[in-house]
């Protein structure tokens, strides 16, 4: 019985009228968890009932706590007939299971009904008391933190990145069960909502178990998807990157330490590190222990100058030392005992052993095979020695090594932004698709089929990466598209080489140690490749290379390029080779040298397909896929050249299947990487140079293209420094243009793999006009309308060249459904599809014109073919405005530094209190769950409460403003206020108690920001409260009355936003970051006046504080902790 869940129903408001006679409602509430149900009294005749119930207590297993949602049902009491349901609230209590996340859920939550939408709100209080579970074989994984964010979360530091975790669970879809014929749509929808809640809870728990097994304490880049397979069932699957995270503590302060930091300081710091990792509640979570010991130990090594100066000489010197070296190789010393002497000699030796050889190898990259084997050896050695660190840890570490071995088959990372120095080179985009027929008979207990399918694809991805000379895949994601019984599984990522110095143990590079903050480095690979090219690991590259270009350098062997490419010497360092074009799925590294600004580039394609059934259909689709991909790639390449750019980031290719067509949409952010050669223009060549008018036509087009390129270069401020071209004379294979296609495709009928998408000579990118298709293509190329003045757009997190964001952000979702005429040609379809996307963008620009100058970031397009002749496009993005005056790069750097400083300060406050609590509650660090949960109830001992209250003040300032505006004192609601205040037994010191008290006075609702990005401009995220993962179904049988399909969906999306905001506010947060709408399935039947829609959204609930306020408020508590944080200011 390891947990007690407590819930209290306080009040309701804005309830709907359920009794026509009295125009009132006799409401009561059922609180259900698992199989236990409690009821409140009936509050008669009121639309604003005040139940103020007792605490309902559920004593449950923590396994159930993870799987089950708390279900609150509001009903209208009826004496003579059955009680009518008003609506439900599902509360995911997962955030309460992790001590570092939220401690209480309290606030107004919308009461939701799948038929009527939001029907009033209910005020609830939910708490969880967790007990220790010493059972090693338990099935729960409480305490593992989940993040949707695809980078190391802002207030954490990665101690270790363990690698890929995946899981899937399957079940029957209630919508397709026989019982669905006899139950109401409401019952069916609710069954589905509940099931998906349960399944995602279970999935999260299972992933959590895997993470614990691997020795991690968190999942970053958690991506959960639903496959609605219709009759064959419902699949919920998730992937993520297991990490060991540590809340940021005083360590960044070491940035100012002299390179040989004094041991005394280490002594002071290391004990602080230990309590900070106590967030992990699990008692068998020795990784925490080992992490902290490693930490202090790593710290004691006193930042090896040697390593760092060698690694990144020109990189922000202030940050380099912060990257503490955590090699377990030095674990020979007892853990936690700081070395009083300087860096031990083994360090140097080891450094050399891992780096100098690689240097030489990389120079003559032929012998790279040896190198690869060398790296793991180093890792293995260190792993072994780590085992000696402490006796009890031995077993665990062994376990870790084992899991590392198991995991090595997928060295995948769902991260798209990396700590500096983690990612060395990028080979290029790797992707794999496979067409499957869904099996009719389905056994929920055997998800093996689906597992096997994904396994196949992952293996393929892995082999592609290998072919590119890379040992890892970053920015990895998986998706499906289902139409009837056909399912396309896709996976894509970016082949990359990761730094060996982050590798921990295991013969392969699955485990990595990180020592740094989320700042990013990576690179991009130009072409996709296949073929065997002898693995290479050019680990030494980084040594004398500025981080701005290092990631561009080719990871593969230039003598054995498996695909045609133009290599040149890097335009930054002039030492290493770079390709002419780079495509990647990851985000643009912040330190990348970029010329000018970037822009969104989309390739859009429609292909008709004959209607078919079963096997034949799958065949037809898999035959079409390679062509589709090839054309998308060509379009991307052309558009990239047209904009005078040479690299794509955040590439996402989505292929959607319908009964009579396939839809392809590739989105990416184009940039001009300074390190890469300037792209050549586009030349048009006619096939039949006989006709004079034809010639003229051609030259006209050529002129247009040239003009567009010039205009684009101007718009995106691309004016690279002129450099003498020096194409390497090395034996680069002759470009075999567009010839080597679909090689691996022939390997299996239902699998499509890499395509060799090469392009011509660099300077003369020739487009041949040999038929009308090509003419159309070129026209299409030119019809892409430019973004209006003052706007920029990208699908990545940040826009190169723009730093000074203001705090104005506007997240939005836009959905369009387009009905096509029958019998369209491919061209016609293409044009329609392309126009659809273009018009949608234009509409967005128009809508957001008041925010100019602004950038649409993270433009995420999702296409679907909901039924025949319908195309659905959904976009979620955030518009962020910025100041026109561009600050210099320096300005940004220093800004970042203050950011880090701010973190330091803040963490210190938290740290400080944690210690206090640890002392008061339990001397045993493993007893932390209790101690930590108490933090919340000790407001007086909690320095950061200052920040919180200021935040609450800001929230309430809205109220003030409104009051002022309306000149009102709201005397009317005195009655409510008093009774509500009685009813809110919130711990003081919590921001919410303040806020909600205010909101009781009926004045305002807390503002919750939402953004698909991992950060909020001008603000510091001080706490992650847990993952938000919500699934809603809405159905109507009075479509016309609700304003048609648009009115219906508009309301529904607004409701989803409202529910997300309310749940975040109830957790005590004021923003959702990394928000995404992963599913939006819309179905209509206008003849029956019906429509149904399913939406799945996710994100991370956070508390942020404006930087300006942070500075103000942190002054006071800072003084208390200055001594421990000395030097923090000096940065």
């Amino acid at each position: 019985m390891p947990g007690r869940l407590k819930a209290k129903i306080v009040a309701g408001r804005h309830l709907p009228v359920m009794d026509r006679a009295s125009d009132l409602t006799d409401a009561f509430v059922e609180v259900k968890f698992g199989n236990t149900t409690f009821k409140t009294d009936v509050y008669p005749k009121s639309l604003n009932p005040q139940w103020n119930s007792e605490w309902f207590k559920f004593e449950v297993d923590d396994e159930d706590l993870q799987d089950e949602p708390l279900q609150i049902t509001v009903l209208d009491h009826d004496t003579y007939s059955a009680n009518d349901a008003i609506g439900k609230v599902y509360i995911d209590i997962d955030p309460l299971l992790c001590s570092e996340a939220a401690t209480v859920i309290s606030g107004w939550l919308p009461i939701y009904d799948t038929i009527h939408g939001i029907r009033g709100e209910i005020n609830v209080l939910v708490k969880v008391d967790l007990f220790n579970d010493l059972n090693r074989f338990r099935q729960s994984s409480c305490g593992v933190k989940f993040f949707c964010t695809t980078s190391i979360p802002r207030c954490y530091r990665a101690i270790m990145v363990h690698g890929f975790v995946e899981e899937l669970v399957v079940n029957e879809d209630p919508e397709y069960q026989w019982i669905d014929r006899i139950r109401t749509p409401r019952a069916s929808n609710e069954a589905r909502q509940r099931l998906i809640f349960l399944m995602s809870g279970e999935l999260q728990r299972k992933i959590g178990l895997k993470v614990l097994e691997m020795g991690g304490n968190a999942v970053v880049g958690y991506l959960q998807c639903f496959d609605l397979e219709g009759e064959s069932g419902l699949v919920v699957r998730a992937i993520g990157t297991a990490c060991t995270l540590e809340k940021m503590s005083t360590f960044p302060a070491t940035a100012t330490h002299p390179n040989n930091s004094s041991p005394s300081k280490d002594m002071k710091d290391s004990p602080q590190a230990a309590p900070s990792t106590l967030g992990c509640r699990s008692t068998h979570s020795s990784p925490v222990h080992s992490a902290s010991s490693r930490l202090s130990q790593g710290f004691s090594i006193s930042v090896p100058t040697l390593l760092f100066s060698g690694m990144k000489p020109r990189h922000r010197s202030s940050e380099a030392p912060r990257a503490r070296q955590c090699r377990p190789g030095f674990g020979e010393e007892a853990p936690g005992v700081p070395l009083s002497s300087g860096p031990p000699t083994p360090l140097r030796a080891q450094t050399f052993s891992s780096f100098s050889p690689s240097k030489s190898y990389s120079r003559q990259s032929s012998s790279s095979d040896t190198e690869l084997s060398l790296t793991p050896k180093t890792g293995m050695g260190s792993g072994g020695s780590a085992g000696k660190e402490a006796g009890p840890l031995k077993a665990l570490l062994k376990q870790q090594t084992q899991s590392a071995l198991e995991q090595r088959e997928y060295p995948f990372f769902t991260l798209t932004i990396f700590p500096p120095g983690f990612l060395l080179h990028v080979g290029g985009v790797v992707s794999a698709r496979s067409v499957k027929l869904l099996d009719r008979i389905h056994n929920p207990d055997e998800p093996e089929t689906r597992d096997a399918w994904w396994e196949e694809i992952r293996q393929e991805i892995k082999s592609h990466a290998k072919a590119l000379g890379c040992h890892a895949v970053v920015g990895y994601s998986e998706s499906t598209s289902i139409c009837e019984e056909v399912c396309i599984l896709s996976a894509s990522g970016t082949a990359a080489i990761l730094s060996s110095r982050f590798m921990q143990d295991g013969p392969l590079d699955t485990e990595h140690r990180l020592s740094q903050q989320p700042l990013c480095v990576f690179s991009a690979g130009s072409e996709r490749v296949e073929g065997d090219m002898g693995s290479s690991a050019s680990l030494g590259f980084e040594e004398v290379v500025s981080p701005g270009c290092g990631f561009c350098h080719i990871p593969y062997d230039e003598l054995n390029i498996p695909f045609p490419a133009q290599l040149t010497y890097c335009y930054c360092c002039r030492r290493y080779k770079v390709p002419d074009v780079l495509f990647t799925t990851i985000d643009l590294p912040t330190e990348a040298n970029v010329t000018g600004k970037g822009c969104l580039i989309q390739a859009r394609l429609c292909r008709t397909k004959k209607k078919a059934q079963g096997e034949g259909n799958a065949m037809a689709i898999s035959n079409l896929l390679p062509f589709l991909e090839y054309e998308l790639h060509t379009q991307l390449m052309n558009k990239l050249k047209l904009r005078g750019m040479n690299a794509l980031f955040g590439l996402r290719i989505q292929i959607s299947v319908g009964e009579t067509m396939l839809l392809g949409l590739a989105s990416a952010t184009g940039v001009y990487l300074t390190a890469l050669p300037s792209p050549g223009g586009i030349q048009i060549a006619g096939k039949t140079p006989s006709d004079i008018t034809y010639e003229q036509h051609i030259s006209n087009m050529q002129k247009k293209i040239n003009d567009t390129i010039t205009k684009n270069k101007e718009q995106y401020e691309i004016n690279p420094p002129e450099v003498v071209e020096e194409i390497i004379g090395s034996p680069i294979p002759e470009p075999r243009q567009r010839s080597r296609l679909f090689r691996s495709h022939s390997e299996s009928s239902d699998e499509v793999s890499e395509i060799d998408l090469s392009h011509g000579k660099k300077d003369a990118f020739v487009l041949e006009i040999d038929d009308t298709d090509a003419v159309e293509d070129i026209h299409a190329l030119l019809t892409d309308s430019p973004t209006p003045a003052g706007f920029y757009s990208c699908n990545t997190e940040i826009m190169p060249g723009i730093q000074n964001w203001t705090s104005a952000i506007q997240m939005f979702t836009s959905v369009r459904v387009f009905r096509l005429n029958a019998n369209l040609t491919n061209q016609g379809l293409n044009k329609i599809f392309s126009d659809l996307c273009e018009n949608l963008l234009k509409s967005l620009y128009f809508k957001l014109r008041s925010m100019v100058p602004c950038c649409l970031c993270h433009l995420n397009f999702t296409v679907a073919i909901p039924e025949d002749e319908l195309i659905q496009v959904a976009v979620t993005a955030v518009a962020m405005s910025f100041d026109k005056e561009q600050t210099l790069e320096n300005g940004k750097r220093s800004g970042e530094k203050t950011l880090i400083k701010a973190i330091t300060e803040n963490d210190e406050q938290l740290q400080f209190n944690l210690e206090l609590n640890a002392e008061t509650s339990s001397p045993n660090p493993l007893g932390s769950p209790k101690g930590l949960s108490e933090v919340g109830s000790h407001p007086s001992a909690r320095a950061p409460s200052v920040d919180y209250s200021s935040f609450a003040d800001r929230c309430s300032s809205w109220i003030e403003q409104l009051k002022l505006k309306a000149h009102t004192i709201r005397r009317g609601s005195v009655k409510t206020t008093s009774s509500m205040e009685k009813a809110s037994p919130l711990p003081e010191g919590r921001s919410r108690s303040l806020r909600s008290n205010r909101s009781y006075s009926g004045s305002s609702v807390a503002v919750v920001k939402m953004t698909p990005l991992s950060f909020i401009p001008g603000a510091k995220i001080i706490k992650y409260l847990g993952i938000i993962n919500m699934f809603f179904i809405r159905e109507t049988s009075s479509l016309r009355e609700e304003g048609g399909v648009s009115g219906f969906l508009h309301t529904f999306i607004a409701e989803v936003f409202a529910m997300v905001r309310a749940h975040v506010a109830a957790l005590g947060g004021n923003a959702v970051v990394s928000y995404s709408m992963k599913e939006c399935v819309f179905m209509e039947n206008p003849n029956k006046n019906q429509a149904q829609c399913l939406i799945n959204v996710s994100g991370d609930a956070v508390i942020f504080v404006r930087e300006s306020e942070l500075e103000l408020t942190s002054v006071q508590p800072q003084s208390a902790t200055t001594q421990t944080s000395n030097g923090g200011e000096g940065t």
């Binding site: 939005f812 369009r816 809508k847 009102t968 709201r970 004045s1003 969906l1049 905001r1061």
Partner: protein
């Protein structure tokens, strides 16, 4: 090919003030698009008509969804569906409750009933305001009326609190409610020259001085009805015209005062002797008019005719004698004050309360 569905939802609800106004004015989507195109927003933002149409539809839908909340502005502040910054909320409310002066003149003093609502299409054709907009305005009046009708306490304050309206707008609504409740006649031809603001001013005077709430805020009764006791007392003023002595005395006092050579004010008016002459001649009529109005106010029917009586019995005679408003002010001041010096006149309090309002109303109404 057609766009089947097109929605845009922002985390912060985006609302264009211009489109909001068009919506409030009752324009159809297509008309609104036309107006916007003429307004030149397209050139400004490099947009096409399609984009404009999509945007307008979207905004209209948003407003329709919000309308339900706007009916209870207090709900707008604590609803969760739309995240709207407070300044926007205030704007939405203010504009939703704003009304056209030409419209309100048509319904001012009328019963806010279904019957009146049925006649709105006539009002619409007469004023050129769309029927939709007329209905919104009418419904607003009715809604405010219904809410405050039952409430105790100061009328303006109640409206301000329940509908979160800015001060001026709350006062205007108080006037509308007051007029509707007392059914003052405002539609007669002779009253056509008066603007809504004239009436609103007068309503303010009446509310502040003649209602029960004016005497005692804590009273159970409200601001909407006139103080019955006071109206009863007004009958006593009749003595001023029925008692011949008093009338003469009053007249001579007023004349003395107005034509007193030492009176600074009068010096300026000396030249206009004819005005004084006429004043003297008309004194009995004018005084009789005002006192009769007072005496009759106890009858509900005569209350309705209050304004028309003021115009017929006082303003029109003065206007035909070409009094200036300064003359009028002077006359009324002395007329009021001199009554207090009359030996046998006892009803000073009632007189002051009555004449204070009458004076300010007449002064406000005395224009072309």
């Amino acid at each position: 090919m057609s766009v089947e569905l097109d929605v845009f939802v922002g985390n912060t609800t985006i609302m264009d003030k211009e489109v909001y106004q068009l919506w409030l004015n009752g324009y159809t989507v297509n008309d609104a698009v036309k107006v916007r195109i003429e307004g030149g927003v397209m050139e400004e933002c490099e947009a096409s008509a399609e984009v404009l149409l999509s945007d307008t539809m979207d905004q209209y839908r948003t407003f329709q969804m919000c309308e339900r909340l706007l009916h209870h502005p207090a709900k707008l502040a604590n609803q969760l569906l739309f995240q709207i910054p407070p300044d926007r909320q205030a704007m939405l409310i203010e504009r939703y409750y704003a009304f056209d002066d030409s419209f309100v003149r048509e319904v001012l003093g009328k019963k806010l009933s279904k019957g009146t609502k049925k006649d709105l299409d006539d009002v619409s054709t007469k004023t050129g305001i769309t029927l939709k907009s007329c209905r919104r305005q009418f419904d607003n009046f009715k809604r405010v009326f219904k809410v405050v009708e039952e409430l105790k306490g100061p009328l303006v304050e109640n409206i301000r609190q329940h509908f979160l309206l800015p001060d001026q707008l709350a006062r205007d609504y108080a006037a509308i409610v007051f007029f509707a409740n007392n059914r003052f006649e405002t539609g007669k031809k002779k009253l056509q020259y008066l603007t809504f603001q004239d009436f609103a001013f007068c309503a303010g005077q009446l509310i502040n001085n003649w209602t029960l709430g004016a005497v005692d805020n804590m009273m159970e009764d409200m601001d909407v009805d006139l103080d019955k006791e006071f109206l009863q007392d007004l009958k006593d003023l009749k003595i001023l015209i029925t008692d011949k002595d008093l009338l003469d005395q009053h007249k001579s006092r007023v004349n003395n005062e107005t034509s007193h050579p030492l009176s600074l004010v009068c010096n300026a008016l000396r030249g206009k002797t004819n005005v004084f002459n006429e004043m003297e001649a008309n004194f009995k009529n004018l005084s009789r008019g005002l006192v009769n109005i007072a005496a009759k106010l106890i009858n509900a029917k005569d209350v309705r005719d209050f304004f028309i009586d003021l115009v017929e019995k006082f303003i029109e005679p003065c206007r035909s004698d070409k009094w200036t408003s300064i003359d009028m002010n002077l006359y009324l001041t002395h007329y009021t004050n001199s009554a207090h010096i009359l030996d046998t006149f006892k009803h000073h309090a009632v007189w002051t309360r009555y004449m204070g309002v009458i004076k300010s109303c007449i002064l406000r109404m005395y224009h072309d």
